[in-house]
Symmetry: C2
Subunit: 235 residues, 2 copies
Amino acid sequence: MNLLLLEDADFIAADRVILRDRRLVHMQDVHRAAVGDNLRVGRIGGLMGNAHLLRLEAAEAELQVSFDLPPPAKLPLTLLLALPRPKMLRRVLQTVAAMGVPKVVLVNSYRVEKSFWQTPFLEPEAIREQLILGLEQARDTVLPEFIIEKRFKPFVEDRLPAMTEGTLGLIGHPGNYPACPRGLDEPVTLAIGPEGGWIPYEVELLTKAGLQPVQLGARILRVETAVTALLARLF
Amino acid sequence: MNLLLLEDADFIAADRVILRDRRLVHMQDVHRAAVGDNLRVGRIGGLMGNAHLLRLEAAEAELQVSFDLPPPAKLPLTLLLALPRPKMLRRVLQTVAAMGVPKVVLVNSYRVEKSFWQTPFLEPEAIREQLILGLEQARDTVLPEFIIEKRFKPFVEDRLPAMTEGTLGLIGHPGNYPACPRGLDEPVTLAIGPEGGWIPYEVELLTKAGLQPVQLGARILRVETAVTALLARLF
């Protein structure tokens, strides 16, 4: 946790917060904070700044806070991601939040196991928890927008073309395709498939919606590694 | 597992192998392989090719194998990595093997907790196991060279300058430094610090050994994410 993220409910005054949950435990056990210490804080959806630790007890801490710094810029990106397996999903959520993806669409794909859609990690509170961990890691305050599309075809045919408009549409896909471009400034819509990749029919529908396959080389990467590698190369 | 990696001990003839361990279980449970199926195989340190499943029983499988394809090229890189926490270490080992790093030096750093050096994941067999998982994921056969340097100063002062010679030496380090370069062809020596980063004294010693700090932006990434992001951007 490189940034202590504050929720509206933590505030007891405009410049005063009380913490009682895992953030208190983290302050005590990892930061080994003491009264008088200063900590980096951010307000979810708002500015970052400084907290002065006024009071630290076993069950709660009180901090005086001030905010003056905008969070870092997001990437100009909409990320379309085939639902990963539950364990991978949690790490991917942290990674996309940490890397500054502002909008994520989780979609179904032929190679996504049906059972993956039953995971409790897809509950809104569970998704939010992992995104917050990513923001705390990277020092950002703004939660990515998160959309779940359980039906691939209607999403890609009916809603994706409008999302893709005005952006460079790319599909991360192994094969005999152009190399993934580097160091872009323009907005991008990027689709990343499941383990085993999109099936040809899905690539065809994505292409009709305005996305073109690009590749990263012969090596097959885990989803989490592929997400990071593609984003680091694109921007 | 996108490639079934074969050890010398698996061979009962030049074109015949017997499998009995986790690879057999994987073939049965994940690939749901049947007699007559063809599978991608590689020989550790050698070529990749095809296996034809001749016999599949509960306790062993027999395959006829042929090899014709070289493994993918490695990156022109020596990666100097501060020892991550044990759980992260395992994933990082898989990641560096999957991404094609040919040489890794695990070093100590001021911010590496001493207890991390006690982990059983640093045993040669445990390291090899994680590297193999990365090779199987990416479809590569060549294990990275792996060096452990528990003393930072003598390593950086006495041995690192010779390693760095003839390469572009870089330190992934947040701060007011030049942006990490992109799309290089030349050989690189890259140093990535622990959580919390290298301390100034370490940066100074690394700089004397021929490495220069470069940064990836304001966001603080987990070690595993930083490794992937830096490699994807550099090459």
